[in-house]
């Protein structure tokens, strides 16, 4: 029972199947999934049980002579035969070589009283049958079988199935449609015994065998092995025995059967979920898509607009601090239309608007997430597409809130007043003061020359007046110049600030999207990839 060494190929495929069963729920059709897990269980159980035994089941319609054949092969009248239809209602088993067979029989759920053993001593010259467990199944096509799935169950469990057909029923839909068409790939595990051959003449038999072969080939059994038998005359029993003993002595029928079952399941799986191009679908969210998502989320938050707004608002507001004060004072004298609308306080409120923080727009956020999922799932199976979408949206209800909170921390305070603005304002006022001082000097110098106390003689010095005038002009010019210069500095600083801000915001948006969108999506994509890798692994 060295599972891995003696069963190469089967183990990795079963591992792949395990993976599929693990990943399947919610993705795979429930029926296929349960079939797969049933096969997995069955394979596990069968491989655990005696590999020295080969379970051969005689299956067929009622009246085709399963029990007679069973008795003929075993050489004992073990299973009652009869003319009433259906005759056998319980499976009978005959074992060649008992040791280790009991758990297998338990697993097959054969009742104790229907178990028989051929002691090896009896079987001189039948040693090649050692290890055979022959099952005589109930029929699958009578009205009794409508409510009894025993035959179905054991046909599924047996390592080798001998279909017992007879000249009357060999083309019955109940056999072919339900079982044989399912058998493609099970050639090695299926033998067709054309029983009751004694009822036919030689020519008829030949014709019939040809017809049966054709029929089976049409149904996908590539190399049907048809053995004409007659339980009555004993004809063909030996060749059937040798076919069975061949399978029994190789001890590999169970593995072949499981492999064939795997192949069939694989076909069903690929029918419902073709591997196709699925593996070329992205297994992770690549850089471009992450960038795309971040961009879209930034748009949803309005990052560029926030930056722009900051720049504009700073430029506008700075002029009140660092700008040349004279035009501002002039503007105050202009009538305010708001005042005429009796909306004086609105201007404060408008200033209040700019204190509002950033926030994310929920609809745009959900569209951004949707777009990412759409892009990732192009060409995916609808089930997986839905799954990826669901994963992407798994936290999208909190996403706008989280984004808003996270970005508020870095949002610019639009009503912030930097210190140097204040200094510049003082400087501007100082210049204004200087200008006013100069003006006073000029006034004094021009109006009261010579009447000033000596200490103030200088003011009356007319020779100095042109210089004072020049100085005043310079002060005015300096004010204007420094206003322009510092405004330029503000703009420059704002644009630098904007860049920094946008970078920071993008970084934060990217971080949030990583944890809240990309991670769940990648989990699902990984699942998708693992599933299809397993599917490929299943095909071996």
């Amino acid at each position: 029972m060295t599972a891995v060494t003696t069963r190469p190929g089967l183990a990795p495929r079963l591992t792949a199947l395990t993976k599929i069963v693990e990943l399947g729920p919610g993705r795979l059709d429930q029926k296929v999934l349960s079939e797969a897990s049933a096969l997995l269980t069955r394979a596990g159980e069968r491989l655990k049980l005696s590999s020295e035994h080969t379970v051969v089941a005689l299956a067929g319609g009622t009246g085709s002579g399963k029990s007679s054949l069973f008795n003929a092969i075993s050489g004992l009248e073990l299973s009652p035969t009869g003319v009433r239809r259906p005759t056998t209602a319980r499976t009978h088993a005959c074992v060649w070589g008992l040791e280790g067979a009991a758990p297998l029989l338990d697993w097959l759920q054969i009742q104790w009283r229907h178990r028989f053993a051929r002691a090896s001593a009896l079987d001189k010259g039948e040693s090649q049958l050692h290890g055979l467990i022959l099952l005589d199944l109930p029929d699958h096509d009578s009205i009794r079988a409508l409510t009894d799935t025993e035959a179905d169950r054991l046909i599924g469990l047996a390592d080798l199935v001998v279909w017992v057909l007879d000249p009357q029923k060999y083309a019955d839909a109940s056999t072919h449609r339900r079982y044989v068409t399912d058998l493609a790939g099970h050639d090695a595990m299926t033998v067709f015994a054309l029983n009751q051959a004694d009822k036919l003449s030689t020519e008829e038999l030949a014709e019939l065998v040809i017809d049966l072969n054709d029929l089976l080939r049409r149904e996908g059994v590539e190399h049907p092995s048809v053995v004409p038998t007659s339980a009555v005359s004993g004809r063909g029993i030996d060749s059937l025995k040798s076919v069975i003993s061949g399978a029994v002595s190789r001890r590999r029928a169970a593995i072949h059967k499981l492999e064939a079952d795997l192949r069939r399941l694989e076909r069903r799986l690929t029918e419902t979920m073709p591997v196709g191009e699925a593996l070329s679908a992205p297994a992770s969210v690549d850089e471009a898509r992450r960038l795309g998502l971040t961009d879209a989320l930034c748009d949803a938050v309005g990052v560029p607009a926030v930056g722009e707004a900051m720049e504009n608002v700073y430029a506008e507001r700075s002029s009140r601090w660092v700008g040349w004060p004279y035009p501002r004072w002039l503007a105050k004298f202009r009538p305010d239309p708001l005042k005429s609308l009796r909306l004086d306080d609105v201007s404060d409120e408008i200033r209040g608007i700019t204190t509002g923080s950033v926030s994310a727009q929920a609809a745009e956020v959900s569209n951004a997430v949707q777009a990412l999922a759409d892009g990732l799932t192009v060409g995916m199976h609808p089930v997986w597409r839905t799954a990826v979408h669901r994963a992407a949206r798994s936290r999208s209800s909190q996403l706008p809130k989280v984004l808003t909170e996270d970005l508020t921390e870095v949002a610019p305070e639009l009503d912030r007043v930097p210190g140097w603005w204040r200094i510049l304002k003082i400087w501007q006022y100082f210049l204004v003061g200087a200008f006013v001082g100069g003006l006073a000097w000029l006034t004094v110098g021009l109006t009261v020359p010579g009447q000033l106390p000596a200490s103030l003689q200088l003011l009356g010095d007319s020779a100095a007046l042109p210089w004072v005038g020049l100085m005043m002009a310079s002060v005015l010019g300096l004010g204007a110049l420094s206003g322009i210069a510092s405004r330029n500095f503000v703009v420059l600083g704002a644009s630098r600030e904007r860049e920094r801000l946008e970078r920071e915001m993008r970084r934060r948006v990217a971080a949030v999207s990583e944890t809240m969108v990309v991670e769940p999506v990648e989990r699902e994509l990984g699942r998708h990839h693992a599933f299809y890798s397993a599917m490929r692994g299943l095909s071996g």
Binding site: D141, S142, N312, P337, I350
Partner: protein
């Protein structure tokens, strides 16, 4: 089937008694009378017919129950007499009776069985005695009790429960089987002895060992064929070809009549009156041809029905749609092929359709009856693919030219190139007039087209001959067909062929029991042994009964007409359920479609509501819109919107900022719409998928909004914004006091207005106060209402376009016509009225 034998035990006596009744009811009444005379001493004679299969049928139903009530008087009787007498008799009779063949045969087994039945007095005293009484009238003492209480009870209850059990006991238990084999091995003489022994033992201990009764029954059954050849043909409903003794036609007739009589188990009243019934039976209700006016009415009603059925379309592939389509096709075919022609000319020859499993020997049977190799036979399965009709030359005209099976192309010879839809018509003088045989393809081979043809043929049949074999009689397809026959109320005859002589008894017994369980115990049955088929035909002696049956049908116009009429009635009856079933399915489709439509409506309604909410609760003033608004307000543009008139330079402000603000608003609104549309699309498909698999199929590829949605939405919102600007420009001039000296930029103001609108009606924010001050509350309300309704209308149109995709998908799947269902009900009603 391995049930406990105890259950089975009461059965055997029951069977016997019943069988007796069955026997007596029917033809046998007069001979019966004489029988007891001969064997007067034994009251047990009453239980004569016992051993045979047919008997069981009836028996099983009534017999099992009484087991609980051993009745003293009957016990004794049965105890005493049978032992002694039955043995002897069973020895004697078979040999002695060569002339009164059928009769004697009946007797012989019956005696034996009598013995056996008596052996279990404890089980069945009551039933036994009753039955004994009923026909023979000899034991008045028991009579009062029997039919009234126990029997009634038993009849009602017992029938269904115990039968299978009994069945099992007899058939599949190993032990009895073994016993039987033993018995077979033993010489016939010993056999009898064994029987005696058993008989002797059992009465002694009231509760005999479990298996003994079963054994007995079995052994008896086995004995009969083995022990004495004469015993074989039995007075059952079975028609046995009897190679040894020529059965004269009278005999056959008699047997036949009896078989026709329904066995109706479980009816004590009938039991008693069985004799009477048998006597009264002959005056069969004469079936008059339908009066012309009724024919006209029926034809009209049927035509109407056909029309409304052919109008049916099941577009949606709901579960059951395939069946409904099939049912519709079947119904149409049957109306055209059979019902209409049959109603128009109800005197036409009867069409007997031979149907059954592949390899059952249908073609062989038809060939043998026609004494001509008209239908190919062989070992290949399936053999027959094209139906073959055989009739008397005089009837040929009717079948070649008539409307019956009008859709089938008539050909003279089967050839490979004639596909489905052809019908070979062959005339032969060997077949009696007035009946035609139709050999059909199988019902259960791998070639599934055959099943369809076979069913179509059966739909057109006046009588069905169902052929099965000893190897097949328990096959599920066969019983499905029988059930169909029963449902349709078709007249049925069953042929069990390929019966091996040694298996005959067991198989027949079992088969008949199964038939009875199925409620088909009373149909005509024929047995054909396993014989060498020579040249595709069976030996003549096997065919005698069937020939007679056919001849009888041919000669006896009444019987034929009755059979034809019954089948026709059965078919018309079946319309009562089949047509409304179709109508119901159609209604289901209509309802389903309505539901799907409602799903679409609901999803898009909720999407609209969602958008409505988003435009009111300030959700739109987030993200970029908010940033742009801050920009707009903070950069002083907001202030510059309003200017004094005559300032000369009407403050044209930075246009790019207004444009950006405008497009931000548009993008925000658009994203809300797109998100809602996404949700709606997913919702529709999810709902559809949830409803049924079909919903998922129809909705495939529709789980996303259409590609044009974004483009259309952009266009719609841009147009709306234009519209709002226009509204502000044209209608926003209200406040005279303001407009005299203040002017505003309509573009900007409309944006402020939108922000005011989207940030919610309750918030007394800046935008609100601004527009309010500028435009005045009244005109603001007017503009607000107009803008909102316009927005809704535009989004509504967008969503209409979207939901049209679903409607189209639904339509392309097929639109059921709702009125057709009503018309169907009407047509069914009219048909009933016409009948």
């Amino acid at each position: 089937m391995n049930t406990a034998m105890d259950d089975g035990r009461p059965e055997s006596p029951g069977e016997q008694t019943l069988s007796f009744r069955a026997f007596t009811d029917e033809s046998a009444a007069p001979p019966e009378a004489s029988a007891p005379d001969e064997e007067t001493p034994v009251p047990a004679s009453a239980s004569e017919p016992s051993g045979e299969p047919s008997a069981e049928l009836g028996a099983s139903s009534s017999g099992d129950e009484p087991s609980d009530e051993p009745e003293a008087p009957s016990d004794e009787r049965s105890l005493d007499e049978p032992e002694a007498s039955s043995d002897e008799r069973s020895f004697d009779e078979p040999e002695a009776s060569s002339d009164e063949h059928s009769f004697e045969e009946a007797q012989a087994p019956s005696d034996e069985s009598a013995a056996s039945s008596d052996e279990q007095p404890s089980d069945e005293p009551e039933a036994l005695s009753d039955e004994v009484d009923a026909p023979s009238g000899e034991q008045p003492s028991d009579e009062p009790e029997a039919p009234s209480d126990e029997e009634a009870l038993g009849g009602a209850e017992a029938s269904s429960d115990d039968e299978p059990a009994g069945d099992a006991e007899a058939s599949s238990e190993e032990e009895p089987e073994a016993w039987a084999e033993l018995a077979e091995l033993a010489a016939p003489a010993d056999d009898e002895g064994a029987g005696d022994e058993a008989a002797g033992d059992e009465p002694a201990d009231d509760e005999p060992a479990d298996d003994e009764p079963a054994d007995d029954g079995l052994r008896l059954a086995d004995d009969e064929p083995e022990g004495s050849a004469d015993v074989r043909p039995e007075p059952s409903a079975w028609h046995f070809p009897d190679p040894q003794a020529e059965q004269d036609s009278d005999d056959a007739q008699a047997v036949h009549a009896e078989s026709a009589e329904p066995a109706v188990p479980a009816e004590p009243a009938e039991l008693v009156g069985a004799e009477q019934a048998a006597v009264e039976r002959p005056p069969v209700r004469r079936v008059e041809p339908l009066p012309p006016e009724m024919v006209a009415a029926l034809t009209a009603a049927l035509d109407a029905l056909r029309e409304s059925v052919s109008d049916l379309r099941f577009g949606l592939d709901l579960p059951g749609a395939a069946e409904a389509r099939q049912a519709r096709a079947d119904l149409l075919a049957q109306l055209k092929d059979y019902v209409l022609p049959r109603v128009r000319t109800n005197t036409a020859p009867a069409l007997i359709v031979v149907a059954g499993s592949t390899g059952a020997g249908k073609s062989t049977l038809v060939n043998s009856l026609a004494e001509k190799n008209i239908s190919r036979t062989g070992v290949r399965r399936p053999t027959t693919g094209i139906p073959v009709l055989v009739c008397h030359p005089d009837d040929r005209q009717w079948f070649t030219k008539g409307d019956l099976l009008g859709g089938m192309r008539r050909i003279d010879k089967p050839s490979p190139e004639d596909g489905i839809g052809s019908l070979v018509v062959v005339a032969t003088e060997k077949l009696p007039q007035g009946v035609a045989l139709l050999d059909t393809p199988d019902i259960d081979s791998v070639v599934e087209e055959h099943h369809e043809i076979a069913h179509r043929m059966l739909d057109a049949a006046d009588l069905w001959i169902f052929v099965t074999t000893a190897a097949r009689y328990a096959d599920a397809p066969a019983w499905n067909l029988l059930r169909l026959a029963k449902e349709r109320g078709a007249r049925l005859a069953i042929v069990l062929s390929r019966v091996q002589p040694k298996a005959r008894e067991v198989v027949l017994k079992h088969f008949v029991r199964m038939l009875t369980e199925y409620g088909l115990g009373e149909v005509d049955r024929f047995v054909i042994g396993e014989t060498k088929v020579v040249d595709g035909r069976l030996p003549d002696h096997e065919m005698t009964d069937l020939r007679l049956w056919l001849a009888e049908l041919s000669v006896d116009e009444d019987r034929r007409a009755q059979a034809v009429h019954e089948t026709l009635n059965g078919v018309l009856d079946s319309f009562r359920t089949r047509v409304p079933a179709l109508a119901r399915h159609l209604e289901g489709q209509v309802a389903f479609r309505t539901e799907l439509r409602a799903d679409v409506e609901a999803a898009y309604m909720s999407a609209l509501a969602e958008i409505d909410k988003a435009t009111r609760n300030g959700m739109l003033v987030h993200g970029e819109v908010l940033a742009r608004w801050q920009d707009f307000a903070g950069s002083g543009d907001l202030m510059r919107t309003i200017q004094f008139r005559k300032r000369g330079r009407s403050g044209r402000q930075a246009p790019e900022r207004v444009t950006a603000f405008r497009s931000a608003l548009r993008a925000g609104l658009e994203s809300v719409i797109v998100a809602a549309a996404h949700r709606a699309a997913e919702e529709v498909v999810a709902r559809w998928r949830h409803r049924s698999e079909l919903g998922g199929t129809i909705g495939a590829g529709l789980e996303r909004p259409s590609d044009e949605l974004v483009r259309h939405a952009t266009r719609a919102i841009a147009a709306w914004q234009e519209h709002v600007t226009e509204l502000v420009r044209t209608e926003g001039v209200a406040k005279r006091s303001v407009s005299k000296f203040v002017s505003f930029d309509a573009d900007s103001l409309s944006l402020i207005f939108m922000v005011a609108m989207f940030s919610g009606g309750t918030v007394e924010g800046v935008p609100h106060r601004l527009v309010n001050a500028l435009l005045g509350a009244e005109s603001l309300r007017g503009i607000g209402a107009k803008a909102l309704s316009d927005l809704r209308a535009r989004i509504g149109m967008l969503f209409d376009e979207e939901s049209m995709r679903y409607v189209q998908a639904l339509d392309s799947a097929g639109i059921p016509d709702e009125s057709t269902a009503t018309r169907l009900y009407q047509a069914t009603y009219n048909l009933e009225v016409a009948r």
